[in-house]
């Protein structure tokens, strides 16, 4: 595969500056009954006509983001001796999954300014504007969101985990956890020199439920009444079966 890509680079038409050519190990992930997470390999090459320009070594950043949604973050406080939910902040946009993999420590690869411009690091992809004025330290809510999601593997920072060969070929691997939401997962690849972005490339991976999972999910939404009755029928017959089986067993 790498050889094929090298060939591609050699045969490539002359281009201005440096440009990304990309491959994905898979462009869709089907969630079936025995789905237990999945690895996505993202690899590619840098195409250039002239010799590599100066301005520091070539670095690569790969990000993968799940569909965004708004999240309500609640904070507990002690009232009359017991812990209760008091303040809450609605975070307007937060990806359900986000991984950022780099070829070197993050701050060496991308400057603060460029991060702000392209929205690469985790705090930069989360947007919270609706914090009510009554809530003190509303930024701690965003931090809590990142901490909780990171603990369950939904937000990943993979520093220095992209391999680069000969300043041309690169590859990185991102592990998708088992608890995935459906939707379009956007992969972005940046190449940087001296912390400045030289080129950006974007593609997407479709994550969807398949087979029985799909059928049950659709039924629960489209025919909820029959879905409920089916659940009860299964429950009653399982109860009866167990009882009948034990009666035979007891004799």
């Amino acid at each position: 595969m790498l050889r094929l890509l090298s060939l591609l680079v050699l045969l490539a038409l002359p281009v201005q500056g440096e440009e990304i050519v990309l491959g994905l190990s898979r462009d869709e992930v089907a969630i079936t009954a025995n789905f237990d997470g999945s690895d996505v390999m993202i690899f590619g090459a840098v195409k250039r006509e002239a010799p590599a320009p100066g301005g520091g070594p070539l670095e690569v950043i790969i990000t993968l983001a799940g569909p965004s949604e708004s999240v309500l973050v609640r904070r507990k406080e002690r009232r009359l001796g017991i812990w209760v939910n008091t303040d809450s902040v609605e975070v307007d946009v937060a990806p359900s999954f986000y991984a950022v993999a780099t070829s070197a420590p993050f701050r060496d690869v991308l400057t603060e300014v460029e991060d702000l411009r392209y929205g690469v690091s985790i705090p930069r992809v989360i947007r919270s504007v609706g914090a009510p004025a009554s809530v003190a330290n509303s930024e701690t809510f965003t931090e809590a969101l990142i901490r909780i999601r990171a603990a369950s593997g939904l937000y990943q920072v993979l520093d220095s985990q992209v391999d680069i060969e000969e300043e041309t070929l690169f590859r990185g691997q991102i592990a998708l956890p088992a608890a995935l939401t459906e939707g379009e997962y956007v992969a972005r690849i940046f190449i940087t020199r001296g912390g400045v972005v030289m080129d950006e490339y974007q593609t997407s991976i479709a994550v969807y439920k398949a087979g029985l999972e799909r059928w049950l999910f659709e039924m629960s939404r489209n025919q909820p009444f029959w879905y409920g009755l089916m659940s009860l029928a299964i429950a009653i017959s399982a109860g009866w079966l167990a009882s009948a089986a034990f009666r035979i067993f007891a004799r």
Partner: protein, 305 residues
Amino acid sequence: MQVYLPIAEVSVNAFLLLGLGGIVGILSGMFGVGGGFLMTPLLFFIGIPPAVAVATEAVQIVASSFSGVLAHLRRKSVDLRMGTVLLIGGLFGAALGVLLFNYLKSLGQVDLLVKLCYVVFLGVIGGLMFVESWRAIRRSKVVGGPPLRKKHGWVHALPFKLKFRVSGLYISVIPPLIVGLLVGILAAIMGVGGGFIMVPAMIYLLGMPTKVVIGTSLFQIIFVTAFTTMLHATTNFTVDIVLAVLLLVGGVIGAQVGARIGVKMKAEQLRILLAIMVLVVCGKLALDLLLVPSELYSLGAAQGH
């Protein structure tokens, strides 16, 4: 073996769920409780979203209660007449409870109220049962004879008397209707079948024999939780059938085993074990409210704008 749950959208270990279902099923068959008050916190713990856990738990309770009731029916330890009266009260109570729940939700802090309800009711019921059954055990050891039971009180002066042959009672239908109603309200607010409140209420308030109470409690739980299941499936779409099947396979087998264990035990022993279990759950919930949580923040779905 990992299984992906289509509605809960998480992947879980199938054997873990089978085991959990089995344990809760045994308790269900032994004590006549649905087990929702135990299973729901356990499901939260393994990462099932709360809304899905509560709704799916109802399906499993239907299955294990049905399995348990069949075992008790063969033993003729189900008072169908008493069960029906309790059920009528219970369904009205459940409807009232849902209204009350939505009203409290509009005021906010409904989560806290549910938790406090759990702590208070589990604590009071567990404590009373524990003391009573411990005394009964000591008395039976010392004297060797059955304890004297108060046979007449204000309950017996009420009109609309009915004969409950299986329970050996001749009482007015008003107390069972009220008990059913109150348990129905609590069950709807707390999101459980209400067995752990119903069982002590039948023993201590109605004076039914412990052996009959278990089958009768299971009988009415089937209907209450079937009703809850349909409500959740049609309004919140949170019933996960894959999760339910995994839990109920363990549950129905456990219920049969539990019903057999229950028969071999003395009534006081059954009551004291149930009391201990209720107190343990109560203690756990109380500690959660009192101790400093390890994570002060929690995530929830946004209500939308």
